[in-house]
């Protein structure tokens, strides 16, 4: 008996290194979205990572091929994600138009309004994530201020498109409502205010010592790594990869308006955050140009045919490249719709970056990647 217990103690001693396991999710304060990480840590340094995203699959791809006709498809995919709803509706409408073969006939005004919707969407998304990033760093004050300024953008969307979150302004063949002259004027006034709050945000994220010390050098993604893992969006641009679907795809008027890409070289969390801040300036400029360049007029064309081709569309959502593929058969419903969301492209690199990072730096690191799990689940 005694020898048995002695053996047992020895067994325990021989056992390999014992890590402290810290679960992160599927519900966590820092990331209110259903992704689950399990970190094995040693002195709070993360050594091993497991993750699980099987929580919110809603079968939207299937619904598009079995339940809704192609005219309703943009409104359905708007529900894929609450933060980047316009970013989903636009490529869905565009890809349907391409599958029908009418994408060359879309009026310029409709394209401009789509761009305005997308850029307003991007502004509020970038405000949201930067505010949240400050919050997970323990900087509640900045979070409160940024999110209050974000309300301004939400109200702007409400005024222009009739809704704060789900704009649903885009339809197959154009857009549903025009922006009249008086609202254009209010929009331009509000943009000045938003620009001021972007300046405030930039000042905070470049000057505040504690915040910068938290984010600088955290989770560095080198350019080679970014290319190798095919990451997209602000995360790739922060590592110096020149990729932006706004210039690579041509559903909008971005090339005509002289779009400038924002890139940085550092590739750390701070750079990812600053790329977003600087993109806000670009978005504001694009909205101004889009209003200036087009006049009130025809906003949609009549859609008479059903989708019959196979087509793809790539759109730059706030989180990066959003890929839509549609296979039409001439029927009222497409045969197959594939949605590849940006977070799905950015997840594979996460375990690599998180390794050997202190646990208290994990929430800011994760938030700087701006994961949207509702998008990923679809």
């Amino acid at each position: 008996m005694a020898s048995e217990s002695k053996n047992k103690t020895r067994e325990i001693q021989i056992k390999e290194k014992v890590y402290t396991t810290i679960p992160f999710g599927s519900q966590h304060v820092a990331l209110p979205e259903p992704i689950k990480f399990i970190f094995d840590t040693e002195n709070e340094i993360v050594k091993e990572i497991k993750f699980d995203i099987a929580y919110v699959h809603r079968g939207i791809e299937k619904a598009l091929t079995t339940m809704f006709d192609f005219r309703k498809a943009p409104y359905v995919v708007g529900r894929v994600c609450g933060i980047c709803s316009a970013a989903h509706t636009i490529p869905c409408a565009v890809v349907m138009e391409r599958a029908i073969g009418i994408d060359r006939e879309i009026p310029d005004r409709a394209k401009a309004i789509r761009m305005i919707a997308l850029e307003i969407n991007r502004l509020q998304s970038h405000f949201l994530i930067n505010g949240h990033l400050a919050e997970v760093c323990g900087y509640e004050n900045v979070f409160m201020h940024i999110w209050r300024d974000r309300e301004m953008i939400m109200d702007l969307a409400d005024m222009l498109f009739g809704n704060r979150v789900q704009y649903d302004v885009v339809c197959v063949g154009g857009v549903n409502r025009d922006i009249p002259k008086d609202k254009e004027r209010v929009l331009l006034d509000k943009l000045n205010e938003i620009e001021k709050s972007v300046e405030f945000m930039e000042k905070i994220f470049t000057k505040d010592r504690t915040l910068v010390s938290r984010l600088k050098g955290l989770g560095v993604v080198s350019k080679e790594m970014a290319l190798e893992y095919g990451i997209v969006g602000p995360m790739a641009r922060a590592s110096g990869v020149k990729t932006d679907c706004r210039v690579e795809d041509d559903w909008g008027l971005y090339k005509d308006l002289g779009f400038e890409m924002v890139t940085m070289e550092e590739g750390d969390s701070l750079a990812r955050c600053l790329v977003r801040v600087r993109e806000c300036y670009e978005s504001i400029r694009i909205i101004r140009e889009a209003i200036k360049s087009t006049e009130e007029g025809e906003i949609s064309i009549k859609v008479t045919a059903n989708p019959k081709y196979e087509a793809v569309c790539r759109n730059e959502a706030p989180r990066g490249e959003l890929f839509y593929y549609v296979k039409g058969t001439g029927g009222i419903m497409p045969d197959r719709v594939r949605i590849r969301t940006p977070t799905l492209a950015n997840i594979p690199i996460l375990p690599e970056v998180m390794k050997d990072v202190s646990y208290n730096d994990i929430p800011p690191l994760l938030m700087s990647f701006d994961p949207c799990i509702a998008c990923t689940g679809r």
Binding site: A54, Y309, V312, G377
Partner: protein, 128 residues
């Protein structure tokens, strides 16, 4: 994005058709992280046969490229995650959605254990 003439009902991307045995060599040939951007993995089921599809983007010419290979139900599909590093996540995803037997897949990565099996599959239903 470069416009290609619609051929065989395809609007704006080009297609490379290959077989399941050759798909790995084909992708190894095409893929170079500096010149080609990996977009994603997809599958397609027309009711008789399945197809595995890999989407790429040629950065210089800005053309979306589709590499696809047909295969029969139940056939084992090779993984390309050693060639294209980030491919594993979406491979496991479509493995769950279509019930494809992809090399190295993790069960219930994308669907919960209680959800319906292989919801996007059309022909040759999986048993419950």
């Amino acid at each position: 994005m470069k416009e290609l003439p619609p051929e065989k009902g395809i609007r704006n991307f080009s297609v490379i058709e290959t077989t399941l045995e050759k798909i790995r060599e084909k992708i190894r040939e095409i893929y170079d992280p500096k010149k080609v951007h990996y977009i994603g993995v997809d599958a397609y089921d027309d009711g008789n046969k399945m197809e595995i599809r890999y989407w790429f983007l040629k950065k210089e010419s800005n053309v979306v490229l589709l590499v696809k290979a047909p295969f029969d139900y139940g056939e084992k599909v090779p993984s390309i995650s050693d060639i294209v590093k980030p491919a594993f996540v979406q491979e496991w995803e479509i493995a769950d959605l279509f019930g494809i037997n992809i090399e190295g897949r993790v069960e219930n990565f994308f669907l919960t254990p209680e959800s319906p099996r292989a919801p996007l599959r059309r022909g040759d239903k999986l048993g419950k």
